[in-house]
Subunit: 255 residues, 2 copies
Amino acid sequence: MQSITSNQNNRVKEWRKMQSKKGRLSSGQYIIEGWHIVDEAIKHDQQIDAVIVTDANFLDQLEVDPAVTDTYLITPEVAKHISATETPQGVFAVLTTENYHESIPEKLGGSWLMLDNIQDPGNIGTMVRTADAAGMNGVIFGKGTADIYNPKVVRSMQGSQFHVRLYSGDLAVWMAAFNKHNVPVYGTELNDQAISYDDVEPTKQFALVMGNEGNGVSADLLDKTDQNLYIPMNGEAESLNVAVATGILIFHFVK
Amino acid sequence: MQSITSNQNNRVKEWRKMQSKKGRLSSGQYIIEGWHIVDEAIKHDQQIDAVIVTDANFLDQLEVDPAVTDTYLITPEVAKHISATETPQGVFAVLTTENYHESIPEKLGGSWLMLDNIQDPGNIGTMVRTADAAGMNGVIFGKGTADIYNPKVVRSMQGSQFHVRLYSGDLAVWMAAFNKHNVPVYGTELNDQAISYDDVEPTKQFALVMGNEGNGVSADLLDKTDQNLYIPMNGEAESLNVAVATGILIFHFVK
């Protein structure tokens, strides 16, 4: 195991750069941190390029073999330097970004969630966890939605990114592919053309588009769906939180 | 309108103290901030003790009459001093805490949400918004749940606190009251005694207990429910976010 004590070390500089999308695109790698998510990555046989710890004993707890995996021992100061949090747990891993999973599978079926311009990393993470809990096949990050490997998004997914497949792409192109494979595409909106989600029978095959926290799904995408849905509200709230709305819709479908 | 330019001013000191529960209990008041929520408070005829702005023109936009309501003009520095946010919008209001709505209504019916030891202010706010959207009668903040008037909770409720009634109290006492009024009480857990939420028919009368993010509803409360429910999950996620789970359950009930 290599020991690193300086923030000026070239590897440390590389790891720190992975906080930005530019840095991740350049290295083809991203960094995860915290016991739970590193543990999940190891358990789910992710391609792990390096494990970085502030205490050599952590490797045993993670069941990482330094003979097989590149491992680094760093100081708490270096940990703080490369961390996206205020109080790092001292456990990091470097993973391959897999080219942002950009190609659409040739066989397309099952249930899918599409994210159109979702801003808040916490909402994105919660939506991916919900898709995972429902046993969905994949989540597609569309235009304007925070990056799949953004450290805040990565943290808020809590390991669900290793259970459900994540894609980054043009939602209009994906919608055409769903259409070709006879997977019905549902948008969400509030207008005369939309129907109550409760009028759609539970189904195993569907693709659901959720939109921006303030503005909803963009108009050009809503035009391309098979059907747009709304959630009837009896109260005075102007809207539901987008992750809550996603949960209500998905769990109605997979019932 | 009184003008205040110093953080040492006694009123400013009072307002700042309202960030803490001790300060709110001592004054019987709490402070809200931001255009949307102050506007909602005014529209819903809340008891407003003062409106505080950094620009006199804001009063016109809020439709506040300085002849009727106590108004204060403050500097951006004072705004920063009394704000719970990094970048205050320069619009505040001081409201009466209404003794934390502690007594149980004599007539008890309809639909209710109980929060047992919910930690995250964002989750609490989202759950209150969801209860509001579903047209529920009230939300009860039980032991361990953040304070109703905690500034972060207040902010994340986004005005729903003026639509749905909030209570603070002992959930065991409330559960006994629901029992007396024949309102079925549902807990949430993952064990042999729990049934799938989908096996409960939609209903207009119910009280739902949601529990701590990590540990769920406390065992002594689960013993006192009429029935405990779980949400079947097909995927690998360990759990749903508590606010998402709340949305799925409530919108199933009120369907």
